[in-house]
Amino acid sequence: MDKGTVLYGVDPLIILDHYEIDYHHSYAQDSPFFVGLTKGQLLGSRCTACGYTYATPRAHCMGCGAATSWFALPLTGRVHTFTTCHYGGEIFLKETPFTLILVEFDGADTLFLSRLKGIQPDAVRIGLPVIARFAKAPSFKVTDVWFEPADQA
C-alpha cells in the first residue's frame, strides 16, 4: 500500500527515497573456500609453479600468474594486528564493539582477516595465539569462521 511520501524539508524540498535490491551472488571459483568453512576447514591457495602460499582464496598466483591449488591452513595462528571498532558501517553498528584481526599462520605467506571473539578488547596483543571457530549453522559467508584466544581452547 502506498503510504505517501515522507518530507524532510520544504525549502529546498527534501524527500525520503528508498532503495533495495537482491542479488544472485556467485562465489564462482572461490566457492570451495565457503564450502570448506561448513566442514570446519580453512582453505588457502598454494601456487603450483612458485609455491607461494596465500591464506585467502586466489585461483591464480598474484606473483607468477600460475594456477593455485587448495590446501588446508592450520586452525591456529597468531594476531598480526588488531583493532576494536566502537562504530561501524550501519549494518554492523548493532554488533559494536567488535574486534577485527589479521591472522598470521605458520606455513602461509599472507594473512587472513577475521573477527576475534571471547576476549576483552584491552587484552588483545600482537602475537596472541588464536584458534579458528566455525558456525554450526553456516550462512555461507566469510563470517562462518572467527577466532578466539587459543589458550581458552
Binding site: G9, P12, I14, D17, Y19, Y27, D30, Y54, A55, T56, P57, R58, M62, H80, T81, F82, T83, T84, C85, H86, Y87, G88, G89, E90, I91, F92, L93, E95, F98, L100, I101, L102, D109, T110, L111, F112, L113, S114, R115, P121, I126, K141, V142, T143
Partner: protein
C-alpha cells in the same frame, strides 16, 4: 609528451551538507570561479572534460558526469568519468594531464564532486566499505576506520609510533584550517583533546579521522602555448606518478622496500615491506613522479606537500612512502615540527617548525573529504600556493608558503589500492 600547465582552479566550500545545491550547481560554482580568475580564457578554448566522483551509491545517478557536462554547457565536447575510490580526484587530474600531454587536447577541464550528505554517516561508512572486497573483507565488519586502525597498530608495533604523534597531525591540520575559509572543520585542538574525543576504532579517535562532505573542485589544464596566452602565472606539472596494491590488505607481501634515490638497501635490512604498515602503491607513485620531475631528495627539493590525510595515521605513513623521512621515522618527523607551517602557534614545542609544510590547507582532516573533489581541491590549493595567490583566494596570507617553488599533491584510495602523486612547479 609535451609540457602541461595548470591555468586555473576553483572550489566550493566543503560542508557537511549543501542541500540547496545539487552536484551540478556545486561544480558550476567552482567552474565559474575558475573562469572568473582566468578572464582571457573563453569557454570555446576548452576542448573537453574529465569528471570525477567516487560513489554511484551516494549519487544514485549513473553517468552523473554527463549531467555536469551539459549543465556547464560543454556538450558536445569530449567527456568521460574517472572513478578510483579516494584517489578519484588525483586520477582525474592525471587523466586531464594525459589529454593535454598527448596532444589530444589543448585545454582540458577536470571537475570533481561528491554529495555524501544524502545518507547518514554510518550508512555512508557502509557505502565506503563496499570499496573493500565484498566477499572477504566487508562482511567481517567492513569499516575503513577499522582497516586503518589495524594498519597503524602494526606501524606502532614495528616502529614505536605513538598515538600522541598521530594526535599532533590532527592539531596541525585543524589549526592550519583556521585560516582557510573553504575548510569544514577548523579548530584549535590539543593532543589531550584529540585523545579524549570518542574512540572510533582503537587507536583512532574521532579527531584522527576526516569527515564526509559535500563539495566540488575544478582544475583547468592547458598546453604551454595556450597557458602563455591566457594565464599570467601558469603552474607547470612536471611529474605524475601512480601506484597500486592488492585489494585485500591480507594479501600484501612482506618483501623488500622500493628504494628512492636518496635511500640504500642497508637502511631497511630487517624491514618486511609493505606488510600492512606501509603503502607500496604510494611509494611507487612517488618514485615515478620524482623520476619525471628530476627530484632526488624530496625533503630538500619540495616547498610543500598536500597529501591524503584521511587519517592522522595515514599522514604519518605517507611521510615515509613519499620519502620525506625514512620508513619508521614518520612519528618522529611530525614531532620534529618539519611538516608544520612556520610562524603559526600550534601550542606545541616544535624544534624544526616549518621546514616542509604538509597540508597547509588543513588537508582532508579539516577541509573535509568530498571524495571526487578532494584530489582536485589539493591541486587548486597547490596552484594558489605556487602562484603566490593564497592571500587573494583565502582573504589572508597566513597559509602562503613563502617563495613556494615546487609542491607535491598526493591522492589515495582504499587501503592503498590506487595512489597518485603529482608535482607542480611555479614558472
Amino acid at each position: 609528451m609535451r609540457p602541461v600547465y595548470m591555468i586555473g582552479g576553483g572550489i566550493t566550500k566543503f560542508a557537511k551538507a549543501h542541500p540547496g545545491k545539487d552536484f551540478r550547481l556545486m561544480v558550476k560554482e567552482a567552474y565559474d570561479y575558475t573562469l572568473h580568475d582566468a578572464p582571457r580564457l573563453s569557454k570555446d578554448m576548452i576542448d573537453g572534460a574529465v569528471g570525477s566522483y567516487f560513489s554511484d551509491h551516494f549519487t544514485r545517478q549513473l553517468k552523473a558526469a554527463s549531467m555536469v557536462q551539459d549543465y556547464l554547457g560543454l556538450c558536445p565536447k569530449p567527456s568521460k568519468r574517472i572513478e578510483g575510490g579516494g584517489a578519484t580526484g588525483g586520477l582525474c587530474f592525471q587523466s586531464a594531464w594525459e589529454a593535454v600531454a598527448s596532444g589530444r587536447m589543448n585545454c582540458c577541464l577536470a571537475f570533481g564532486f561528491e554529495t555524501m550528505s544524502r545518507v547518514n554517516t554510518w550508512k555512508g561508512n557502509e557505502f565506503i566499505a563496499l570499496a573493500s572486497d565484498t566477499n572477504f573483507d566487508f562482511p567481517v565488519g567492513g569499516f575503513y576506520s577499522g582497516y586503518y586502525a589495524m594498519m597503524v597498530q602494526r606501524h606502532m608495533y614495528e616502529f614505536g609510533t605513538t598515538v600522541e604523534q598521530m594526535a599532533m597531525v590532527s592539531v596541525k591540520n585543524h589549526a592550519n584550517a583556521l585560516h582557510n575559509p573553504y575548510a569544514q572543520k577548523a579548530k584549535r585542538l590539543t593532543i589531550k583533546q584529540v585523545r579524549e574525543s570518542p574512540m572510533v576504532a582503537t587507536p583512532l579517535t574521532m579527531e584522527d579521522i576526516c569527515t564526509m562532505s559535500d563539495g566540488a573542485a575544478v582544475c583547468l589544464l592547458a598546453s604551454e602555448e595556450l597557458a602563455e596566452k591566457v594565464c599570467d602565472r601558469p603552474v607547470k606539472i612536471t611529474g605524475v606518478g601512480s601506484g597500486s596494491d592488492a585489494m585485500r590488505m591480507a594479501d600484501r607481501p612482506h618483501g623488500k622496500v622500493i628504494l628512492l634515490p636518496h635511500e640504500r638497501e642497508s637502511d631497511y635490512q630487517h624491514l618486511k615491506y609493505p606488510g600492512v604498515h606501509s603503502f607500496r602503491g604510494g611509494r611507487m607513485a612517488a618514485k615515478l613522479a620524482y623520476e619525471m620531475a628530476g627530484i632526488r631528495n624530496p625533503l630538500e627539493e619540495l616547498s610543500f606537500v598536500e597529501l591524503h590525510d584521511a587519517y592522522t595515521s595515514s599522514e604519518i605513513q605517507t611521510y615515509e612512502d613519499l620519502g620525506l623521512c625514512r620508513y619508521g621515522d614518520g612519528g618522529r618527523f611530525i614531532e620534529s615540527g618539519v611538516p608544520f607551517l612556520p610562524g603559526l602557534d600550534y601550542g606545541l614545542a616544535l624544534p624544526n617548525q616549518g621546514q616542509l609544510p604538509v597540508n597547509p590547507s588543513g588537508g582532508l582532516l579539516a577541509c573535509g573529504h568530498p571524495v571526487g573533489a578532494t584530489g582536485l581541491m589539493q591541486a587548486v590549493f597547490a596552484f594558489w600556493q605556487l602562484q603566490g595567490t593564497i592571500g587573494k583566494h583565502l582573504n589572508n596570507e597566513r597559509l602562503q608558503v613563502k617563495n613556494a617553488k615546487r609542491g607535491l599533491i598526493h591522492s589515495h584510495a582504499g587501503t592503498g589500492t590506487y595512489i597518485t602523486a603529482s608535482i607542480l612547479e611555479a614558472s
